[in-house]
């Protein structure tokens, strides 16, 4: 680190870009972006609002824009993102800002629901437990996407979401893809209908920012490509 202090610009307010505030934050070893934001809130300006919970990359609540890139701030070392000695931290893109670095996640989760991102069970408690073949191709597809922590980094990274507010976005569509490949889920028709509508998977331009920036290393773009294939197959079957 070149200096003992970091020049930290924080975008605040509903019009974040026009309300930038600069703070000098003491630099430490192994300091995360979240540590930096916490320092500002604790020692410089207690009115700064931000959101976090687990600090270990599990809960998905601390994502912010760091130098224009969406990142999970609790697992991002400040030394890896510094531009010289400075960094700009802002609220996540593509979601309404509540205050400072806190965004309203409701539209993000509403899209999970709109994509039929819930379990469609067919069994009752009296049925035997459904066996899942861990080695089946479908299960491997499903397993590839189920570690999503709902942090909305992919949603913020996606330029298609930015241009089309109705687009369900990478996270919700990936969730739909895992359900489609889950042997226990019986909502195939409902899921396919939900993801082939106006805001569905065919809006995706395969820009790949979701996959490039997913902090959990998931691949929503390929999941969406899977949905494109399945919805097309199902459409052709219906026509025939």
């Amino acid at each position: 680190m070149t200096s003992k202090f970091l020049k930290v610009t924080i975008e605040r307010g509903a019009d974040a870009k026009n309300a930038q505030q600069v703070f000098d934050v003491p630099a430490h070893e192994s300091q995360t972006v979240l540590d930096v934001v916490s320092w500002v809130q604790q020692f410089a300006d207690p009115t700064l609002s931000y959101r976090f919970a687990c600090r270990v990359g599990m809960c998905g609540s601390c994502a912010m824009m760091v130098n224009g890139v969406p990142r999970w701030t609790c697992r991002t070392h400040i030394s890896k993102v510094l531009d010289g000695n400075s960094v700009t931290i802002g609220p996540l893109r593509n979601l309404p800002i509540i205050k400072d670095l806190v965004v309203d996640m409701d539209p993000f989760f509403d899209k999970w629901v709109a994509a039929e991102g819930m379990h469609h069970g067919g069994l009752t408690r009296d049925d035997p437990v459904a066996l899942v073949d861990e080695t089946s191709a479908a299960r491997i597809e499903a397993n590839a996407g189920i570690e999503c922590i709902n942090c909305s980094v992919c949603h913020a990274a996606c330029d298609t979401v930015a241009g089309n507010p109705e687009y369900l976005g990478p996270a919700a569509l990936q969730r739909a893809w895992t359900l489609l490949n889950d042997a226990r889920d019986e909502g195939r028709e409902a899921v396919l209908d939900a993801v082939s509508g106006k805001g569905g998977c065919h809006n995706c331009h395969s820009m790949g920012s979701c996959t490039a920036y997913c902090p959990s290393g998931l691949d929503p773009m390929s999941a969406i490509a899977g949905l494109k294939r399945e919805t097309t197959k199902s459409f052709l079957e219906r026509v025939r």
């Binding site: 890139v69 395969s206 820009m207 790949g208 920012s209 294939r229």
Partner: protein, 117 residues
């Protein structure tokens, strides 16, 4: 400044491949009406067409043709890349493919240029 920052924060191979595909598509769409206009001269004004074709020997026109072939190559491979990406269920090789697309397009365009000059 902001635009540069916006591009820098997105500049991963897949996004750049997307942008290249878009821009080459727009450029080709702009070119097509002129292309048809020149072709139509064969019927409406053969003398003007001959005069135009005589111009194509000039270096600057050849350079423009190189640009055109480059756009066509880039756009064709971009489309093939997209179809392969979305219709064949493969995974991590995508980035390599995107890079390969740009390289192959450039190679074809460069070969054309070398042949032309």
């Amino acid at each position: 400044m902001n635009a540069a920052k916006g591009i820098a924060s997105r500049a991963h191979p897949l996004w750049l491949a997307y942008v290249l595909h878009r821009l080459s598509g727009i450029a080709l769409a702009v070119f097509l009406p002129f292309h048809f206009w020149v072709l139509a001269m064969a019927v409406t004004a053969p003398a003007r067409l001959d005069a135009f074709l005589a111009m194509t020997g000039a270096g600057v026109v050849k350079l423009a043709e190189f640009g055109l072939v480059f756009l066509l190559a880039v756009h064709m491979f971009g489309g093939l890349r997209l179809m392969a990406l979305e219709w064949l269920p493969w995974r991590p090789s995508q980035k390599t493919l995107a890079a390969g697309v740009a390289a192959a397009s450039f190679l074809i365009a460069a070969l054309f240029l070398l042949k032309a000059v």
